[in-house]
Subunit: 454 residues, 2 copies
């Protein structure tokens, strides 16, 4: 088969690695499939280590021998199960985010870079420098991200793009639109639309809980918001993309339903500012920055291609790696497998138990061996998760050093992770509980927004 479509993830995949298992709907037989045993493959970070770790020589890392597959619906690593991010970046034609660009962002915002940026979790981009340049010149832009509401059970990986987007909104003080593609989920997942709409609203509560500014943020369900200027833009875009092009970009074949074939125009349209007249009027030249996982790149490559032909500026992108399953990068996070991920609804006890039981360890089999050889950070899930969620750089570095040298044991790094995750989930649960129907309605109502740029 090849790349699997995870039960969570999909469109706006939240940077989730969804590798192996399940039936890949979009890829034919014979395409890249992780071989048996590949679940313990090399880390994704190997090719571009998290910035806080000393770089390791490239030859240490097994290069994928089989082609990996990364599309908006499938993510499958190469022969070793790992995702080769350099390869994706090259194939997609996007750029790596340089340290210089990060420094420039810090300088023009006056805010320290988010650790997702410092640690190379958001690692690639398209024309991010144009956004930074605009900001330096006092020009405006807006943020656009989204989620495909296929599941009520969000896991931590789903929060990654929203945590980062929240930081971007605060740092750049800019408006944000968040698309919930309930329509897409009906086309791909055969959801009933009532259920898709319900999930969209439930997911919106989790998104709001990430702390977005209600004066600057518009969250919309496609089913609810489709129409008028938004539909005009969907129509414009759809008129400029042929089936052959869509097939080339997304791999559609003749058995794809016509809704799927047309859907890329729906995901593209929010990158055109006049899709939101209540926010941006008829301004066609406002820049748009899209934070997303790298697997969403094909949508916006298409969008960028079409934009100038409709009189718009090409959108910029800032793109993240995938968030690994508890079982490691080639594992699959699934809402139906509660042992595969930490969910935002998990209790402290569940978190502790999951991490201790299921988080794949790069530590050695015995304490003696571990003290002698140290941990293999490249495959260690607690270490990867800490890179995502521990904010304190110094403590993270210290943990990395001690764990890699064998001074720290697996139980100890897991304990550190458990503490961090319990804190994140507790805060999220509290924030989510505070999202009343009125708050939800406020975010999701198309409305005059007078303080967009304040």
């Amino acid at each position: 088969m090849g790349g699997a479509r995870g039960a969570v993830g999909g469109y706006w995949s939240a940077g989730v690695a969804r590798v192996a298992g399940g039936g890949g709907q979009w890829r034919g037989a014979g395409e890249a499939s992780p071989p048996p045993g590949s679940r313990l493959g090399a880390t994704a970070g190997a090719h571009r280590p998290p910035r806080l770790l000393p770089p390791r020589p490239a030859e240490e890392v097994a290069k994928p021998e089989q082609g990996q597959v990364v599309t908006p619906w499938d993510v499958a690593g190469g022969a070793d199960g790992a995702i080769d991010y350099d390869k994706i970046t090259k194939e997609f034609g996007c750029s790596l985010i340089s340290d210089a660009l990060i420094e420039r962002i810090e300088k023009c915002t006056g805010v320290r870079a988010h650790h997702f940026l410092r640690r190379g979790i958001f690692f690639a981009h398209r024309e991010l420098e144009k956004i930074v340049e605009a900001h330096e010149q006092g020009k405006k832009f807006y943020l656009y991200t989204g989620r495909g509401p296929s599941s009520e059970a969000l896991h931590l990986g789903h929060l990654v793009p929203f945590m980062f987007t929240k930081w971007l909104q605060d740092a750049f003080k800019c408006p944000l639109v968040i698309q919930l593609t309930d329509d897409e989920k009906c086309l791909w997942r055969d959801l009933k639309y009532e259920e898709a709409l319900r999930l969209a609203r439930e997911n919106a509560r989790d998104i709001i809980a990430c702390g977005f500014d209600p004066e600057k943020t518009f969250i919309f369900s496609d089913f609810e918001y489709m129409g008028g200027p938004f539909y005009v833009n969907v129509n414009k875009i759809a008129g400029l993309v042929t089936f052959n092009q869509a097939r080339g970009i997304f791999g559609f074949d003749g058995s794809a339903n016509i809704g799927k074939i047309g859907f890329p125009a729906v995901q593209a349209a929010p990158a055109f500012p006049d899709s939101f007249p209540h926010m941006f009027g008829t301004n066609k030249k406002l820049r748009c920055l899209i934070p997303c996982a790298i697997d969403q790149d094909p949508y916006f490559r298409m969008t960028r291609d079409v934009a100038p032909r409709c009189g718009y500026v090409k959108c910029s992108l800032i793109e993240s790696r995938f968030f690994p399953a508890l079982q490691g990068e080639s594992g699959k996070m699934s809402a139906s497998d509660t042992t595969s991920a930490v969910f935002v609804t998990d209790t402290p006890k569940q978190i502790k138990s999951k991490i201790n039981k299921y988080a794949f360890s790069g530590g050695q089999a015995t304490v003696e061996e571990h003290r002698e050889k140290g941990a293999n950070l490249a495959v260690d899930v607690p270490w990867k998760y800490l890179n995502f969620f521990m904010e304190d750089d110094e403590r993270l570095q210290q943990i990395g050093r001690e764990y890699e040298s064998g001074q720290m044991l697996t139980g100890e790094i897991k304990a550190a992770l458990i503490e961090v995750l319990q804190g994140i989930c507790k805060t999220h649960q509290e924030n989510r509980a505070a999202v009343t129907d009125e708050v939800l309605q406020r975010f999701m109502t198309p409305r005059q927004m007078d303080n967009l740029w304040g």
Copy 2:
């Protein structure tokens, strides 16, 4: 090339023959093209003569040797330029309307059948008997028709389906929705959406001028009405039709844009009653009858196929022949060629001049020859037009007899036609002038309609 896409017509083609000339966008080279000289080919009526004429033996009529092409975008006759309606009916799999069915309609409505029905202009159907049966049993149904607003200049052919729909509304006292596919025109004609919207509203004025009941009629532009329950139904339908199926039905190939490929779901959705919650609530079982020209049949074949899978009743159809150009059935009516058609905006003088100059005559070259041989009604445009627009059956029959026998001259039948058309255009112009912005707005506002079934 093959079938041409006329500059007027297209979607909801208003029963317009759009044959020959122009570049056929949807058909490849080598397909049926009217041969030189075929412009004087046999009449469409030949295979199913207008009901008021005595049937002529089938062998008199040249059978098409080359395949004719009838799709929602192309209409091209066979080798002789004529449309073989029996063949279309058979190929499409719809049924001819029997005299018994017409009588049943008259009986259950208590209204004499419209002359379009009596004369076989609306000649084919799908499950029309189900609608009649429902009406007989006191059950409700609604009407759905539409227009692709590609032109401001409507000709008489454009009025045909609306005249008939108006009659249906009055006879069955039922609600009506009219779709203006401005979105489709942007995809196929490369119109700017502002222009498409403007044309939609201008065309709506002409439609309203046909006399629809504002208490029972909702006219909508796709750009304006897309969204909510309507979009939900578009999405449902699109999810059930594969590209391969759409290619089979509509002839799409890989160079078609993804908007075109998805569009059939937009034309299908109004056949599902809950696309109009302000009219029909959430009723999924209400029947729908669609009056349209026969070339729209593929859309609704697809719609009928999908309906039961979404929990709806299959829509019924009542389908018309094409309205011929002044130059005859193989001519092409075009807004850019004012000599090809009588437009609803024409003055009495223009009408007189056009009919006298351009209406193709089946009369003989000299008065002597005409007196001797009589006229060939099968190719005579004034005769065909009178069948469409002269309401008085007796007078029409008399004209037919006298003209065919040579007793009436071409100039005389043309004079009769001129009088009828001048009357229709004058009335239409007066009615249209009375359509104020407020009236237009009323028809086009989604609104609670309390007198839908009165």
